[in-house]
Amino acid sequence: MTSDPTLELRGVEKSFGPVHVLSSVNFTANAGEVTALVGDNGAGKSTLVKCIGGIHGIDAGEMIFDGTPRTVSGPREAALLGVEIVYQDLALADNLDIVQNMFLGREEVTRLRTLDENSMEKLARHALDTLSVRTVRSVRQRVASLSGGQRQTVAIAKSVLWQSKIVILDEPTAALGVVQTEQVLELVRRLAEQGVAVILVSHNMNDVMKVSDSIGVLFLGRMADQVRRKDVTQTQVVELMTAGRSGDLGLSREESTGAVV
């Protein structure tokens, strides 16, 4: 590795009261790569994402952004560090158009403090062009009239607009059909090509094997292993997810049975 990873987690711990949700999790995400984060229900994916996004504070461990350790104490600080989370339920306002949604909360204004619609429209169009999005007819159509895939596109394009360094996609294809899933996955690749560190949270093994460069597998709150995509098969990843280990990969036999080490 020639340069520092965009995001590196070292020994991250998180408990909610007596419940130990994350224990000494290590995880890295590199610029220009898609890093998948997989794990069974309750493995701690959402908690880890929320820790990176500043919604939960971490109890112990380090979060290193571009080689510099930082403490992230809120969503706003995470946003300043370039972290953008695209949630499963998308968080778009149906009654607003694409431009209005992409700039919501960060509207451009003119010198007279009025909305600068023209520059916002241009920037929104440019962000979509950067991702070679041609599925969106007009950036002035209301989000209510868009399909699920198009809505996902808008949400992802928002992160390009804000030049986010780390984009976390929470189950982006969960509610989509076959064609739209293909389109969104293609978009995920293009986002990474822009030099963004993309973290893809997903259940769907097909998606993960198709687009990711690196796969981090959570098992009962531990990082079972983070492996390069080209070194593993789907079966190995599924074993890591369900048993915590697969051959030489993953946790030791004692750790994977849940014994306290």
Binding site: N95, L96, L104, R106, L115, N118, R134
Partner: protein
């Protein structure tokens, strides 16, 4: 995977080299417009069609419905409804309701009247106190909604009743407070803009509208974005100018039938309240469509969770719309007091609020939040005023008031049903 997956949906947005003028552009604009209408974005069409149809019906069955005299009556009747509806649009945009807007207006006008008559306050001071009380009421209700979390329906139902009581106590056993004849407050609804000034204001209004539209279009062209063809802008300006000129001309007709060689006090020109309406429209339309605040009002109405995640302070927006609504209700109360030249002990009670909510909904503002414009209040208010005015001419006799109420209720219900159906088609 290849880029061709993206082409499954064809791009049909005109490229930068598509014609922006001439028949092609006009055709594209019209096609786009009808596309949006089919998509459930009806805009002002239902209100305009309704306004034309019922006006035509009433003018057929009732001679003199469109006379200058009746037109003036229509305008001054519509004014308090329109102003209250403008405030309600903000509350409705958030999917909330203010059932107390009517009685808030009544209470504020009672406070103003009592200050002038019993405490000798100057009219402008009394007016300001009335307005401030209105905004404080709005702040209180908005705070209860946003911070405590009581449904706005319940809060405003409670204040609807309570403010009626306060007004009753303030006015006392007399039943009404008569405003002094020379009060400038009365002039709003009962005296008229000089003819020359009326035409000057109309010219300013039309030129201002045209300047804004042309400036917007030029700005979009400078930025290399698609813009409406100039023919469309020109057509809109001409229609506005013609309607304005017809109105100003008809308002210029002398309505004082007793004018003769000895009595020369003429009643001609548009009522001053028209100028106030235009100013209020321009201000609130600007706030809703061209400021960050307005954008956030729409966003919170559409999806408050998304707005919160985007960094909008939702509670502040929620409180502010109640402040605007109650403030506008106070203005509406003052206009109603000016119309009646007095404040009754039941001011703002009865169907005052229902008419205003009906106006906003008929105009096209949704009761479910997220959809609505200030023009809705104006067009809807005119529809409601035409219905009330026409009905009162049509139905005479002891039960006429009863029929009026029934018809008003039915119109509100139909408008709300229409809103619900359109909303479903849009989803």
């Amino acid at each position: 995977m290849s880029a061709q997956t993206d082409d499954l949906v064809k791009q049909d947005q005109p490229g930068p080299d598509a014609p922006s003028e001439g028949l092609g552009a006009l055709g594209a604009y019209i096609k786009d417009y009808f596309g949006r209408v089919r998509g459930g974005e009806l805009g002002s069409i239902p209100a305009l069609v309704g306004l034309v149809v019922i006006t035509a019906v009433f003018s057929l069955v009732h001679q003199g419905f469109l006379s200058a005299y009746n037109l003036e009556a229509l305008v001054i009747q519509a004014a308090p409804i329109i102003v209250m509806a403008m405030g309600l649009v903000f509350v409705l945009l958030l999917g909330e309701i203010d059932l107390s807007a009517g009685t808030t207006g009544g209470l504020c006008s009672a406070i103003t009247a009592v200050l002038i008559l019993r405490h000798g306050a100057s009219w402008w001071l009394a007016l300001i106190v009335g307005l401030v009380v209105g905004m404080l009421i709005g702040f209180g209700m908005g705070w209860l909604r946003a911070r405590i979390g009581i449904p706005s329906f319940v809060i405003t139902l409670a204040t609807f009743l309570a403010f009626q009581g306060v007004t009753l106590i303030l006015i006392g056993g007399q039943g009404s407070v008569i405003l002094p004849d020379n009060s400038p407050l009365i002039k709003l609804e009962n005296s008229f803009v000089p003819l020359w000034l009326g035409w000057v204001l109309l010219a300013l209004f039309v030129v201002g509208y045209a300047a804004i539209k042309v400036n917007d279009a030029l700005g979009r062209r400078r930025s290399g974005l698609s813009r409406p063809p100039f023919t469309v802008i020109a057509a809109k300006v001409v229609v506005l100018a013609v309607i304005g000129a017809v109105f100003t001309y008809e308002m210029g007709v002398n309505r004082n039938l007793s004018t003769n060689a000895f009595f020369s006090n003429k009643a001609q020109g548009m009522p001053w309240v028209v100028v106030l309406l235009v100013i209020l429209f321009a201000v609130w339309n600007f706030v809703l469509t061209r400021t960050r605040y307005g954008r956030h009002v729409y966003a919170v109405g559409g999806n408050d969770e998304a707005s919160r995640r985007a960094g909008v302070v939702v509670s502040r927006i929620r409180i502010s719309v109640f402040v605007i609504c109650s403030g506008m209700a106070a203005v509406s109360g003052m206009i109603a007091a000016s119309l009646l030249q007095s404040v009754q002990s039941n001011a703002g009670a009865g169907n005052t609020l229902l008419l205003a909510v009906g106006a906003a909904v008929i105009g096209g503002t949704s009761l479910f939040g997220g959809h609505g414009r200030i023009i809705d209040a104006v067009l809807g208010g005119l529809v409601v005023a035409v219905i009330i005015n026409g009905m009162s001419d049509l139905i005479q006799g002891a039960n006429s008031a009863g029929y009026e109420w029934v018809v008003t209720g039915a119109v509100l219900l139909i408008a709300a049903g229409f809103d619900a159906v359109v909303r479903r088609s849009r989803a």
